[in-house]
């Protein structure tokens, strides 16, 4: 499948590399050229420098033929706006948006975006770990 990823940070580049390794057609967009170094030398996909809230940049990244769009920029509002452009205007079948703020995540999920909120995910995971640890008897004293 054809995948366009917006944001080449840790998450964007890791996802790009694994999808690329699986043989998918991957294009990564980032405002900062240096971020593309995270993709490594064995990345076969394409890179486009620019902002993801610009229709022309999205077109250059091949959004019109894309099956999947993933927005993982470090700004919630940028990811939200880009995802809405891609969903409403380019009608890409599957759009996934990372939103850090749980409140915004709830709202845009209810408005029809497929969202992932790392804040609630990680808080939940850590909470679980703490709960698991609480059941293990502590070794000697109140350490």
């Amino acid at each position: 499948m054809k995948v366009v990823i917006l944001g080449c940070g840790r998450v964007g580049s890791t996802l790009a590399r694994s999808l690329d390794a699986e043989g998918h057609h991957v294009t990564v967009i980032d405002r900062n050229q240096q971020q593309f170094q995270r993709l490594g030398t064995d990345f076969h996909g394409a890179t486009v420098r620019g902002t993801g809230i610009d229709e022309d940049v999205l077109r250059r990244a091949g959004i019109e033929e894309a099956d999947v769009f993933v927005a993982v920029t470090n700004g919630d509002n940028t990811s939200i706006m880009a995802s809405q452009i891609v969903q409403e205007i380019f009608e890409v079948p599957h759009v996934v948006t990372r939103i850090y703020d749980p409140v915004r995540e709830q709202l845009y999920r209810s408005l029809g975006l497929d969202t992932v909120c790392p804040t609630t995910l990680i808080a939940g995971l850590v909470h679980e770990k703490l709960r698991d640890n609480a059941t293990v008897p502590s070794s000697g004293g109140a350490g």
């Binding site: 509002n77 915004r104 709202l107 408005l111």
Partner: protein, 218 residues
């Protein structure tokens, strides 16, 4: 009427200043604490520190009883989200956004923003109206119907001169509504022939505006 202004840049600043002096109930939300202190000294207690794209900030600002929310920050993505939060979470009746990149005006409309203001587009449209050589002038947008009223000047070089209107190939969604010839107003019919200096007033679908421009400037 209670108006929430988000973003204390030049536009937000002067907007708040003017609205306060006109007697409106206004609250300006600004991220930068230093600006908040300065503005409070000048306007009184109508400035609040916070990020307008955070629901908690809007809640604190009393967004649910705001009649109008105006997002004036320098970032289009922030203005979009502020307006969508205000509309969807706080049921604000009218949301307005400043649009920095003129291309985003159309997108904002599609995403449910009631009013968009693009300074670039405003300057461009004034230029079109004041520069005589432009073949097509955008007079008015009827946003709810996605229609525009435009004016075209027929120059001496126009290939349409002397031909009946029925011969002029126009896009399908265009209604030629009036022709201003000198001081006269003509209601055109298929037999009306264009003359140099005619001002043609037409109603067009916004999507056909470019095609109409091409058709009349050929």
């Amino acid at each position: 009427m209670f108006i929430l202004v988000i973003g204390g840049g030049k536009i937000g600043y002067y907007l708040t200043k003017t609205l306060v002096s006109e007697g409106y109930e206004v609250l300006l939300i600004e991220r930068d604490q230093h600006k908040v202190v300065t503005f409070t000294d000048r306007f009184g207690a109508v400035v609040m520190q916070g990020d307008g794209a955070e629901a908690a900030t809007l809640q604190r600002a009393g967004a649910s009883r705001a009649n109008v929310v105006i997002a004036t920050t320098g970032e289009d993505e922030d203005n979009l989200v502020i307006c969508q939060l205000a509309k969807r979470m706080f049921q604000v009746g009218h949301v307005m956004a400043r649009v920095n990149n003129p291309k985003n005006e159309e997108i904002f409309k599609r995403l449910g923003i009631d009013t968009t203001v693009s300074v670039t587009n405003i300057i461009l449209s004034y230029m079109e109206q004041s520069l005589p050589d432009r073949p097509l002038t955008h007079l008015l947008t009827l946003s709810h119907a996605d229609l525009a009223i435009v004016e075209a000047s027929i120059t001496g070089q126009s290939p349409h001169i002397g031909r009946p209107l029925s011969d002029v190939k126009l896009p399908p969604d265009v209604a030629v509504s009036a022709i201003i010839r000198g001081e006269d107003l003509l209601i055109p019919g298929p037999e009306t022939r264009l003359q140099p200096g005619d001002e043609v007033i037409a109603v067009t679908h916004r999507a056909s505006e470019e095609l109409l421009r091409e058709a009349l400037s050929r």
